[in-house]
Amino acid sequence: MATFHLKVLTAEKLFYEGEVQRCVVRVASGDIGILPRHTPYVAPLGIGGLTVTDAAGNRRMAAVSGGFVEVGPEATTIIARTCEWADEIDLNRAQAAKERADALLRQQAGKHEMDAAQVKLKKAINRIRVAQK
């Protein structure tokens, strides 16, 4: 089966690099699937899942947030603010973060704090969702 080269980078490390058959990632306007010979494409990432199907057909899922994806003629690069494999997510920590964000939202603080709490809540929910899949 045809494959293409995928590279997933975060500031801390080279998260993933290899030949893949397919990758599905959440961009700002929704989930997009990338197959080999995709047209050149750039979009900012949303908060959501990243599913990678490698050359052997194994599927792995990760939680991503922030950053962008660039599909080039030779390779696809995902530059993410945060990225972690489903099996590496600390579910307890995500739950705690969700509760903290919930509590913050209920306090009706300033607009800025509310926005930050919204984002935190989304991230926590996303982690929990990905981890439980």
């Binding site: 801390e12 997009i32 494409y41 750039v42 900012p44 922030g66 962008f68």
Partner: protein
Amino acid sequence: MASGNMKDIKRRMRSVESTMQITKAMELVASSKMRRAKERVEKARPYFGALAETVGRILSETRVSSVYTTPRAVQHSLFIVIAGDRGLAGGYNANVLKLAAAQMAGKQVKVLTIGKKAQEYYAKRDFEVLADYPGLAETLRISDTHPIVRDILAGYRQAAFDEVFLCYTEFVSPMTQEPRCVRLLPAEPAADGGAKRSMVEYDPSPEAVFDAIIPEYLTGMLYGAVVESYASEQSARRMAMESASDNASEMIEDLNLSYNRARQAAITQEITEIVAGSGAVGG
């Protein structure tokens, strides 16, 4: 007189020895910190390479008219200056501050400092300092840079300053560190831009993509610069402490020589005195 001289030399030797113990310890600490910092730099580099490349490519392929790319008449310039939190690192702090001063010449400058040494430097002089971030470098995570970048972008949009420079020290190798100053905003297209223009699809639009990427770009650049600077600081300190230890051991050697000489002179004198005394009694 001779024994007094010997005592003085002994005392100096002890003081140099204790200084050497300190410089030796600092050298070891700095070299272990440097190793960790170097790993961090190496892990971070591919990310910034890709980030800068992509932003440059987007800029050269499209004519995005964004507030972040359009140059405007410059009234105020923001300088982000990254220096260390501690001294005793050879020329590290002085070099980056000197470069910053050279770049600032003739501009209306506002300053944002990272590191205690930069904070102290600009606090003592007549500068408009927007914010200080001391004690950040060692434990910096990328999420720590988000609020800083948010403030910078807000200031830029509100025209509090019209260009943004970043002064940091690049970690070339454990032996060489080079102070650098780059302009972050307004962003310029890559130098070789426009050569080949591929049909890239931007979702939802080039402007939207660009405005989403710019904060990522700045956080990336800032994080990268801090990580590089920190590694440079540690290796500069390691080198300074190494040469201090070398100097100290050289001094101890010299002192040891003069001590032995003084001891010998004292013994000779004593013998001469005894011989002279016995000669006088027996004679």
